[in-house]
C-alpha cells in the first residue's frame, strides 16, 4: 500500500472518503517530513503556522458535506512569488525579507477557494531570475535525486517539494522554463498554461508579458485538476482571456493517440546534446508512434534566437517591474537586491535607453512576432511539438557561478514556446546518470486540453514517473 505522501489528489480524496485517514493526519505526516528533510533540501522559506487548524476545519467539512471541492484538503506548496495573506512572501529576495502581503494573489485565492491547504512557501531564484534556485538570497535548494545537484528553477523549490514528496501538489510560475525546467531536473510533472489563461494578479512580476502561473505535481492528472482550478478570466489582470475554461481532467485517460500529429523539433536536438539525452527524446517519439500518433520532424527557428529575444524583452520588463522596490517602502534598500537581479536591472535599463530601444527592444519584439507566426504555421498541421526541456540532466551546485547566461543556456529549448505564449506540459521521459530527463509537449495557445491529453497518455504508458528514495539520496 502507498504511503500518505505518495498519494495523488484523487487518492487523497479516496482516503478521506473512506475514512482511512483525515486531513489532519495527512498534514501532520507532511509537516513531519518537512521537519525531517527540509534542513537538507532548503525547499521551504516560510511555513503556514495554521495548517493544522485549517486541516481540522476541513475534516469537519468533509464529515458534514463530503468532498465537493476539487482540492479540498490537498496540502500544497506555493512558490514564494505568489502573495499569500498570513504567510510571508519574499520572491526569495532580501529586499522583501519579512514582507507580509496585504492581499491574496488570484491563483492562490482560487486554490484556497477550491479547498487547498498551504503548508508553506517554496524557494526560488530571487525574483525568478534564474534556472537553478541558486540565485535565491536564502541559499540554494538541493535536488532530491542528488543533493549535490541543482533542482533547476526558478520554481526549484516547488519541483523539489514534489520530488521529495513533502506535499501532494505545488504551485509554480513560468516565465520561460521556470516550471518545465525544474520539473525536468527533479523528475516530476509540471504544466505551463497559455499566457493569459491563469491570472497574474498578486504574482510578483518578473517578465509581465510571459509570466504564467502553473501547477507542479505528481501526475498529469493532478496538474490538470489544478490547472482547471486556477484558470479563467481574472478581473484584476487585463491580459487574461475570457475564453471558457474546459474541464481538463475529463479529457484524460485516452488509451491511444490515434489521429494526432506530433512534430519532433529538429533544432531542439541540439548538436552538442548528449547522445543519451537525444536517444530518450527519439525514444519518446517512437513511443508516440506506438500509441498511434503520426510523428514527423518539424523545423523551427534556431533556438539561439529565442535566447536573444527573451533576454532583451525579459530584462527590459524586469528593470521596470522592480522599480517599485524603491527603497522607500517594504523595509529594505535597493542594495538588498542580489547580484543576478542587479545585473538584470542594469541590462534592462540599457536596452530601454533612448537610442537603444529600437536596436534592442523593438527588434526583439519583431523577432518574437516571427516566432509566433512560425508556431502558428506549424500548428496548422500538427497538434503538438515535442523536444527535450533542457539540454541535459541537473547540473551541480555552483554551476551558475560566473555564468550570467546560465539560465538562458539551460532554457534554450523552452524559451521559444514561452515568448510565443504557448501552453506546454513537462513530463519525465527517462534517466541519464541516475538523474531524470524531461520531455516537453507543447501545443498552440489555449490548447491546454490537448497538451494534457497527450502528456497523460504518454505518462500512463511509460514508467519514468518515479520518485527518489530520499532517505537514501540525502
Amino acid at each position: 500500500m502507498k504511503q500518505l505522501h505518495e498519494l495523488t489528489i484523487k487518492e487523497v480524496h479516496e482516503g478521506y472518503r473512506n475514512r482511512i485517514f483525515s486531513c489532519v493526519d495527512l498534514v501532520k505526516h507532511f509537516l513531519s517530513r518537512i521537519d525531517k528533510y527540509n534542513p537538507k533540501l532548503n525547499i521551504f522559506l516560510a511555513r503556514n503556522q495554521h495548517a493544522l487548524e485549517q486541516a481540522a476545519v476541513i475534516d469537519k467539512e468533509i464529515a458534514e458535506k463530503g468532498i465537493d471541492r476539487e482540492l479540498l484538503g490537498i496540502p500544497m506548496a506555493i512558490k514564494d512569488n505568489f502573495l499569500t495573506v498570513g504567510i510571508s512572501t519574499t520572491a526569495s529576495s532580501n529586499i522583501l525579507k519579512g514582507y507580509m502581503p496585504q492581499y491574496e494573489s488570484t491563483v492562490t485565492g482560487k486554490l484556497l477557494a477550491a479547498g487547498a491547504i498551504f503548508l508553506g512557501k517554496t524557494n526560488m531564484d530571487s525574483f525568478a531570475h534564474g534556472s537553478s534556485t541558486e540565485t535565491s538570497d536564502f541559499g540554494p535548494t538541493h535536488n532530491p535525486w542528488n543533493p549535490d545537484k541543482l533542482p533547476g528553477g526558478s520554481s526549484g523549490g516547488s519541483a523539489a517539494a514534489i520530488s521529495a514528496q513533502l506535499v501532494t501538489a505545488a504551485l509554480g510560475s513560468e516565465t520561460a522554463g521556470s516550471i518545465r525546467q525544474p520539473v525536468a531536473w527533479c523528475g516530476v510533472t509540471g504544466f505551463k498554461p497559455t499566457y493569459g489563461r491563469a491570472g497574474r494578479y498578486g504574482c510578483i512580476a518578473m517578465a509581465s508579458s510571459t509570466d504564467s502561473p502553473g501547477p507542479i505535481a505528481k501526475t498529469v492528472e493532478d496538474v490538470a485538476i489544478i490547472t482547471k482550478v486556477i484558470s479563467g478570466k481574472d478581473p484584476f489582470d487585463a491580459t487574461t482571456s475570457s475564453l471558457d475554461v474546459e474541464n481538463y481532467p475529463s479529457f484524460l485517460g485516452k488509451t491511444d493517440l490515434k489521429g494526432l500529429r506530433i512534430g519532433l523539433v529538429k533544432e531542439y536536438l541540439l548538436p552538442d546534446m548528449r547522445d543519451d539525452v537525444k536517444k530518450l527524446i527519439l525514444d519518446s517519439a517512437e513511443k508516440f508512434r506506438s500509441l498511434g500518433a503520426t510523428v514527423e520532424e518539424v523545423s523551427l527557428m534556431d533556438p539561439k534566437y529565442a535566447i536573444g529575444v527573451y533576454t532583451v524583452v525579459q530584462r527590459s520588463e524586469v528593470s521596470s517591474n522592480l522599480a517599485r522596490f524603491d527603497g522607500i517602502r517594504f523595509g529594505h534598500t535597493r542594495d538588498s537586491f542580489g547580484e543576478e537581479t542587479k545585473r538584470r536591472i542594469m541590462l534592462g535599463t540599457y536596452t530601454l535607453s533612448s537610442g537603444y530601444y529600437d536596436a534592442y527592444y523593438k527588434k526583439a519584439q519583431a523577432v518574437r512576432t516571427k516566432m509566433i507566426d512560425q508556431f502558428a504555421e506549424i500548428f496548422k498541421t500538427y497538434d503538438a511539438v515535442i523536444g527535450a526541456v533542457s539540454p541535459g540532466p541537473a547540473l551541480s551546485l555552483g554551476a551558475t557561478k560566473n555564468q550570467p547566461m546560465f539560465g538562458e543556456m539551460e532554457d534554450i529549448l523552452v524559451e521559444q514556446s514561452s515568448v510565443a505564449g504557448l501552453t506546454s506540459a513537462g513530463v519525465p521521459c527517462g534517466f541519464v546518470d541516475g538523474l531524470p530527463i524531461g520531455l516537453q509537449i507543447t501545443c498552440d495557445q489555449f490548447q491546454e486540453a490537448k497538451a494534457l491529453t497527450i502528456a497523460d497518455c504518454y505518462q500512463r504508458n511509460t514508467a519514468f514517473n518515479q520518485f527518489p528514495d530520499i532517505d537514501k539520496t540525502l
Binding site: S105, G202, C203, I204, A238, S320, R324, D326
Partner: protein, 439 residues
Amino acid sequence: MKITPLIGLEVHVELETKSKMFCGCPADHFGKAPNTQTCPVCLGLPGALPVPNKKAVESCLKIGLALNCSINRLSKFDRKQYFYPDLAKGYQISQYDQPFCSEGFLNLDSGKKIGIERVHQEEDTGKLQHTVLNGKKITLVDFNRSGVPLVEIVSKPDMASSAEAKEYLKKIHEIIRTIGVSSADMEKGQMRLEPTINVCIENEGGIHYTPLVEIKNINSFNFAVQAIEFEIKRQVEEYENTGTEKSLTNKTTRGYDSVKKVTFLQRTKEEAKDYRYFPEPDIPPFIIEDDFVEKIRKELPLLPDQEISSLEKLGVEKKDAKVLVSTQNRLAIQIIHDYSRDDRVDPRKLASLIVNGKLDPSKDTKAQYDSLTKVGITDKSVLTAIVQKIIDTNPNVVAEYKKGKTNVVGFFIGQAMKETKGTASPLILSELVTKLLNS
C-alpha cells in the same frame, strides 16, 4: 527686428470618473484624509496589475473628438519610467507613440486654427507633503491621487501671443466643462498648464529661433499669461545678449514664481530624464472600431463654439452668446431656443435682457419679457401734446406748482401715465412735465 513668439501648450486635465484609471478606488481625492483611497494597484504593491477604466478612455476620446482629432484605430499604453517618491510603481502609465487621439485643431475667434498634436491618457501621481514632525523635517506621501485619470492635451506651437494662449486655454476649459468629463477646477488642480515657448526673431542677419523653454505646472490662466510674457521678453533679451539659438540639445525647463513674477531655470537638456518608454505589457493594445467612435461622437453635447453660433443664428448678439455659453447658463440657452419659435419674442432682446441681469430665466420668462419690452409711446411730440393737455385742463394744480409745491409734478406724470396706459417712460414724462410747467 520682427519678433514672433511661438507658443505651444500642454494641458493636463483630471477626469471626474467614479473610479481611478487602473483600479476601483474613488477618483475624487480632493480634501480626503490621506491614504484613505488606496489599494494594492495604486499603491504599486508587489504583484498588483492595472486594469484600464473604460469610462476614462471614453472621456479621453470625447475630448479628442471635441478637439477635432482623429481617433487612432490602434493605441496602447506605455510605461514612462522615472524615480520620484510620489510615483508608486517607479513608472507612470501613459501613452507614448500611439495615443488615443491625434491631429486635431481648435479655432480662435479670429478664425486662426491652433493645431492639436495629440490627446492622450495617463494617470496622476501621489502627492508629497513636506512637514515637520517631532522637530524633524520630513516628507509624507499621500497616494489618494495616485492613479487618478489624467488626459494630456498637447497643442502645436501655433500661438503667437499670451492673449492667444489665454483664449486657447479658456476655450479648452469651456470644452472640457461642456462635455462633462471634468469641472476642470484650476484651484483644485484639475487643470494644469505647461507652456512651451520660444521666439522667432527676424533681423538683417536672417531668421533666428531662440532655445525652447518649457514652463512647468502653472495653475492659473493669468499666471500662464504672465509667465509667457515674461519669457518672451527674457528670451529676446537673452538672444540680444548672447545670440544663442535653438538647437537639439538646449531645451530647458523653467518654473514660474508667481510672487516675483519671473520664470526660473529648473533643468537643462543634459539633466533631462531618459524616460525609457516601452509598451505597458500588463495592458493589451486597444483596437478602437469606427462604430465605437461614432457612438461616442453622438454622445457629445453641442460644443461652446457650436452653441454660440447656434445662438447667433437665432439673432443673439455674439457677445451675449459668448457670455451665456461661457457661464454655462444652460437654462437661459434653452429658454432662448424655446422662445425662438415664438414670434412675439425677439431672441436678441431676450438674450440681452438675461445677460444684463434684467430678466431672470428661472421665473416666468414671458411675463418678465412683456413688461420689460412693452411698446410705449416714445414720440416726444405726441407726449408733449398729452402733457400740455393735462396742464391746460388743471390750472389750479399749475397754480400750486407756481407757488412752490414742486411735488405736484408727480400728479401730472401720473395723469400722463394714465393717458398713455402706462406705456410711456416715466423719465421722459418727468422731463417734459418740468419743462412745460416752467415755460
